[in-house]
């Protein structure tokens, strides 16, 4: 299992390991483990060799190394990578020209010294919480190969969970970082909407699209997040804010007021998910329950806006190439494109209302805790989830706890917790992550809470 990003960068900066040696270890892990999991859709080892050599040359010259010097990473295949076709998990994109330049945050990772080793599998067009891709195959869960990795950033989560990489990048429209992070047992950060630039990424729902990192440690997550921050006028949704570094101080401030989300978030959490929340709350000293009353309607609003924007975005190619879309995507996209404007307008009004309710909640609390998925990873091909006696379609239902939060753009760090609950020994060995949610632009607090859980031994990766 590859080490945490902070340790790797420190070893390279001290000269106890070379970037080339780290890359060799990483490549060996990928070659050994990826065939069983199907995380990668492309490997960029030639580029990685060049980038690692450049880091080792900097060290040899006695120059200061950047913060992620020599740290290998990979990206969901909706990020532009110079020389690769940006697939976004779709056959309809396979014939496109290769990207002429890296996505903005890939370029920022390179500037920070990170070494790009490849592109990762995802749900087609990011539409769904599984990575059972009709064109590029199923990404399997590193902890149980009969189960899925979750999605849509399934390759990104599974590659970290399997110990192949310390950092990957993904995107989150309705839970696509948080759900696979939860199912694969890794850390994930969905920043505030607009915090990180999406330039050079393949869009899905502009109103909700976020990008962010996965990692095998909180420090690694924070280092990647810091490297990617900063204004970008080419993304109209990107807030023109200065960098607010989080990695230098990951201590939870004394007196942080932490609430536990009940209501919708408790109802749609099964016993394992509830146990994860209980463990996290106890470690953080949280005892007070609270409620976001508009959670259900915020999820519904997100569903409507997602359908409408996704359907409109893909209409030209649905008209021309319907058969080239996967069967699980195409009819949903067409149906979304038929949504009346009045539904969308009402959904956007609801969204504003839910945001205001959340802001009232943050008068009383600094941080809120909820499960990141309603249950452990479902089996590959499982059509429905049974949550506290209620059945819900797996593909949409896995996001039932994440969608209300991304609808209103709040920052969330997902931390991997191992509840030890379930009907079988296999289920009892699987994680359910917790969402650590704060008010806008307070990513540092979410990360500090995750770090507290990590130090307490509650949030951790499982060695494979």
């Amino acid at each position: 299992m590859i080490g945490p990003a902070g340790d790797i960068a420190q070893q390279i900066a001290k000269g106890t390991r070379s970037a080339a040696a780290v890359l060799a270890e990483c490549k060996a892990l990928i070659e050994a483990r990826d065939p069983d999991l199907n995380c990668f859709t492309a490997k960029t080892f030639e580029r990685a060799e060049r980038e690692a050599a450049a880091i080792d040359a900097l060290y040899a010259e006695g120059k200061a190394l950047p913060p992620l010097a020599g740290v290998p990473y990979a990206v969901k295949n909706l990020f532009d990578v110079e020389g690769l076709v940006t697939l976004a998990g779709a056959k309809i994109n396979a014939g496109n020209a290769p990207a002429a330049a890296d996505a903005k945050i890939v370029a920022r990772m390179s500037r920070a010294g990170a070494i790009l080793v490849g592109a990762l599998n995802m749900e087609e067009l990011a539409y769904g919480f599984l990575t059972e891709n009709h064109h590029y195959g199923i990404t399997r869960n590193p902890h149980d190969h009969t189960r899925g990795a979750g999605g849509s950033s399934g390759g990104s989560a599974a590659a970290v969970g399997a110990g192949m990489l310390p950092i990957t990048l993904g995107s989150d429209t309705s839970g696509s970082i948080r759900v696979p992070a939860s199912l694969c047992g890794v850390f994930g950060l969905k920043p505030t909407y607009g915090r990180l630039p999406r330039s050079g990424t393949y869009p899905f729902v502009n109103s909700f699209d976020h990008v962010g990192p996965f990692a095998n440690s909180v420090l690694g997550l924070a280092l990647a997040y810091d490297a990617m921050q900063g204004p970008d006028p080419t993304d109209p949704a990107c807030a023109q804010r200065a960098v607010e570094p989080a990695s230098a101080s990951l201590s939870l401030p004394r007196g942080t007021r932490i609430g536990i989300l009940g209501g919708w978030f408790h109802e749609w959490a099964d016993p394992a998910a509830r146990r994860s929340v209980q463990l996290a709350a106890a470690a953080l000293g949280a005892t007070e329950w609270t409620e976001l009353k508009s959670a259900e309607v915020a999820r519904a609003a997100a569903y409507i806006v997602t359908g409408a924007e996704g359907g409109a975005l893909h209409r030209p190619r649905l008209l021309q190439q319907y058969e080239d879309f996967g069967p699980a995507s195409r009819s949903r996209l067409v149906a979304g494109g038929l949504i009346p404007a009045s539904w969308v307008s009402q959904a956007q009004r609801v969204r504003r209302h839910a945001y205001r309710e959340a802001m009232d909640l943050f008068e009383r609390f600094d941080l809120l805790i909820a499960a990141a998925a309603p249950a452990v990873a479902p089996r590959v091909g499982q059509e429905t989830l049974l949550i506290n006696g209620r059945s819900i379609p797996t593909k949409a239902g896995l996001g039932v706890l994440t969608q209300p939060i991304s609808c209103i753009g709040l920052p969330v760090c997902t931390a991997p917790v191992w509840p030890g609950e379930g009907e079988s020994p296999q289920e009892r060995a699987l994680p359910v992550g917790v969402q650590l949610i704060s008010g806008p632009w307070r990513e540092a607090l979410c990360l500090a809470a995750a770090r507290t859980l990590e130090q307490a031994g509650i949030a951790k990766l499982s060695a494979l």
């Binding site: 109103s207 008209l319 009004r349």
Partner: protein, 63 residues
């Protein structure tokens, strides 16, 4: 397929598909109707939520 005059949702889907230039066979239309019915059920939640008359939509265009 039911007669569309008995099923306003299917009638809407067929009309909206035609308006947008889609042509599908009845099997494909049935699948799209099923997906749209799910959306319609969820949309009801959105419309049933009491909102102040003056509440504004979330996206604000800033030139």
């Amino acid at each position: 397929m039911t007669e569309t005059h008995d099923n306003p949702l299917e009638a809407y889907v067929r009309a909206a598909l035609a308006l947008q230039g889609y042509t599908f066979d009845d099997v494909e239309i049935a699948e799209i109707v099923m997906q749209f019915a799910r959306l319609e059920t969820i949309a009801r939640t959105v419309f049933e939520w009491p909102l102040p008359f003056a509440s504004e939509p979330a996206p604000v265009f800033r030139p």
